[in-house]
């Protein structure tokens, strides 16, 4: 095996010993990345690698898709849906989570002055990515291969067909993703693409999670009908062609099908070679360092941090400072903003699917829980997103500067964190509440009910922020480095409790929203809870600051 590796390396113009040393070092470092449990203050025995969480997420999505489709569709649609999910998740995960494996500007300072050729570095980085590719490939395709083999029209050839087609297609997608990343390089454009792709992931979760439960209740068998008679435009989707190849191959492979597989192999080899050549070129020319030219940021007055009209609302100077810092970090740390936007997928998904399936009626007028549950839930899910956002605030690209917050004479820590939470609500949740207002107004033609629901969602964000500080904030804001998969590391028990509470209030809302006397209580309750939570949240902050 060793001689084979040396031979291949030499053939590719790389130094086998350096490739092995670099790959080993890259993998050791990746597996030793900070574990989320360290940030949530759990015991060392509870440590979980963020990598594990990413793989688990892929596996869960794949399992959900398989279970939804099992016994409902035939091989073609089963393969089509699973391949589409698998390839999209693979591409978005490489860009959102693993892009720096392919192009890591930090490597320049650490190993660029060592006597290694660009081909050696490229091969080591590709092997490094190959490790993640293998894990994600297995997580996303193992279940479709095993479960799909049990479909009634799947022949003996189904498993090898799916294995080969999904394998080559995944390689093509990974290589194309590398090419895309190498073309947009880094800096603001990469951040923009990451944002778009992260929202694609949100859309996928929406489709798999909520679309799946819609399918289970769909008495018209819309998906089965679509699968049986797909529209003509669907043939342009690449996974449609791949799925039909699997379908034909699974039945009985003939020369054409083997030719198709060979074509995929040739294409994957070609795209992979292109990607490797591009990486090699970039590394040889040192052309992937981030854009170090910073833009000038003007301040209205030297020595004064202004919050554009919010200062009077914030009260203490600590709150003003917190608001300013929160606003600045959310604007300049795109990754933080993205992680804060992710939990909004749930209310957005509910609104979209509820509207689409006609289950989004006005709870003030209609007394039918099957039609009013989703709008009620959307209201409380807006608030439930806030603790997740509060959790994310602890992790920041600028974490190394947090010593200033720890050592500075910050008297009112509660006010400081409240200021940050206010920035979060002002920047993300107020626009969401306004969108909700407009949408409900349009759907229900009832401005007062729409306004009441939007205000209720907005009001609940405030106590939810304090509950987040009390129960889920793992460290002082902006003080922990961001690591791969960190956005998934929410402490499960407190978050499950908050979810149960949101469900409870949703049930009450569904049952009593049509009663007039319900509304003063509903609007007053979040304010009261906000005051009640001041003490435990303050205690928690003391503890976090002392621990830091």
């Amino acid at each position: 095996m060793n001689w084979f590796f040396v031979l291949i390396s030499r053939w590719l113009g790389a130094d086998a010993r350096s490739v092995r040393a670099l790959t080993r070092a890259f993998l050791i470092m990746d597996l030793r990345q900070q574990h989320y449990a360290a940030a949530t203050a759990t015991r060392p025995s509870h440590l979980l690698s963020p990598l594990f969480l990413v793989v688990a997420q892929c596996l869960t999505m794949s399992a959900a898709m398989c279970l939804i489709l099992l016994a409902r569709v035939e091989v073609f649609f089963f393969a089509f849906a699973n391949l589409t999910l698998s390839l999209l998740v693979l591409a978005t995960t490489i860009i959102v989570e693993f892009h720096e494996i392919v192009l890591n500007p930090d490597d320049l300072d650490i190993i660029r002055h060592r006597p290694i050729s660009s081909r050696t570095y490229t091969l080591a980085r590709l092997l490094n990515l190959g490790f993640y590719w293998s894990l994600m490939y297995l997580a996303l395709n193992l279940l479709p291969i095993l479960i799909g083999a049990g479909l009634k029209d799947a022949g003996w050839w189904y498993a090898p067909a799916y294995l080969l087609v999904s394998g080559f297609a995944s390689l093509i997608v990974a290589a194309l993703t590398i090419l895309l990343l190498s073309m947009i390089s880094s800096g603001p454009r990469l951040e923009a693409v990451k944002n778009v792709l992260a929202w694609t992931q949100i859309l996928l979760i929406l489709v798999v999670g909520y679309g799946g439960q819609f399918m289970l209740r769909d008495t018209n068998h819309a998906v089965q009908m679509w699968a049986a008679k797909p529209p003509s435009w669907a043939t342009w989707i690449p996974t449609f062609q791949l799925a039909s190849l699997i379908d034909r191959f699974a039945d009985h492979p003939r020369a054409n099908e083997w030719l198709g597989i060979f074509g995929l192999f040739a294409l994957s080899s070609f795209v992979l070679t292109l990607a490797a050549a591009r990486l090699n070129h970039l590394y040889a020319n040192m052309d992937f360092s981030p854009n170090r030219l910073s833009r000038t940021i003007k301040m209205p007055q030297v020595g004064r941090l202004t919050n554009r009209g919010f200062d009077w609302l914030l009260g203490s100077s600590s709150a003003r400072l917190g608001f300013w810092l929160g606003r600045v970090q959310l604007r300049r740390d795109t990754n933080l903003l993205l992680r804060c936007l992710l939990p909004l997928q749930y209310p957005i998904a509910l609104v979209v699917l509820g509207t689409w399936t006609g289950q989004f009626s006005n709870p003030c007028v209609v007394f039918d829980p099957t039609r009013t549950l989703l709008p009620s839930l959307a209201v409380f899910l807006c608030a439930l997103a806030v603790p997740v956002m509060i959790y994310q605030l602890a992790f920041c690209a600028d974490y190394s500067g947090s010593w200033l917050l720890m050592t500075g004479p910050l008297g009112d820590r509660q006010g400081f964190v409240q200021g940050i939470a206010t920035a979060l609500i002002a920047m993300l949740l107020t626009p969401l509440a306004l969108i909700l207002l407009g949408l409900l107004w349009y759907l229900w033609r009832d401005e007062s009910a729409a306004a009441l629901h939007a205000i209720l969602a907005w009001l609940w964000c405030w106590p939810a922020a304090r509950a987040g500080v009390w129960l889920v904030l793992p460290a002082p804001p902006f003080s922990v480095s961001t690591t791969r998969g960190v956005s998934l590391g929410l402490p499960p028990l407190p978050f499950a409790s908050l979810t149960l509470l949101a469900m409870f209030f949703t049930s009450l809302h569904t049952m009593f929203a049509h009663l007039t006397y319900y509304w003063p209580i509903a609007l007053g309750l979040p304010i009261a809870i906000w005051f009640v939570l001041e003490f435990p949240a303050g205690k928690r902050l003391e503890k976090l600051w002392n621990a830091a």
Binding site: S18, I28, L108, D109, I110, R112, H113, I116, N285
Partner: protein
Amino acid sequence: MIAVRNLVKEYGGKRVVDGVNFSVQPGEITAYLGPNGAGKSTTIKMIVGLLKPTAGQVLICDHDIASDPLSAKKCLGYVPENSAIYATLTPQEYLSLVADLHGMDLELASERIDRLLQGFDLGQVAARQISTLSRGQRQKVLLSGGLLPDPPVLILDEPLQGLDANSVSMLRKMLQQMASRGKTILLCSHILAVVEKLCDRVLLLHQGRLTANEPTQQLIKKSEDGTLESVFCELTRTEQIEQGTRDFLQALSRTVNPPQ
């Protein structure tokens, strides 16, 4: 040896290094000095192949770093200024990686790693992740990485930062020994007292241009009080510094109300 010819680096039309020329001979320890932002680190990065120059040429042991980077880098040991290191590796792992990248003989590498770890007092922490080490210990790991392949050319960018007095003394002796064995050493440092004692020659960079390239003792003789510091200040001072200091002290002496 190191030969730098007409080296230029431009960022967005602005020249940060402007036609720098010098050479460092084997057996010589040369200091590369300059005020903050003078272009020292940019020059060093171009010399070691981290940055592409806009114009000019760098030769390391007669190998052009641009056209023959592998041969040039094989002759080079570099200690960066910004503690750039793989912090999740242990010192042992990091040094083994360096040995592998330089294609060192395994037995020789193992012996040298052991000696370096003991010499820099890193034996106790050799199996701990670098991220958990102190700044000084990290710096020692970086130094060890630079010294491990025993290259003919050593380039050290602020190598003394974070080191205790014993380690500084040890490094000084080590560098003197290495120079006497014919190594070419280029040293960037702001600690002028160490430079005075250690370096044979001083290169002084100011606003991207070399303003001095002379033997250390000859340069010191030119100063009023016989120190390198006064030469440095004389050659790099701008008129605003004294005025700025006066203004700042004046601002400090004003009574202000405590913040609300």
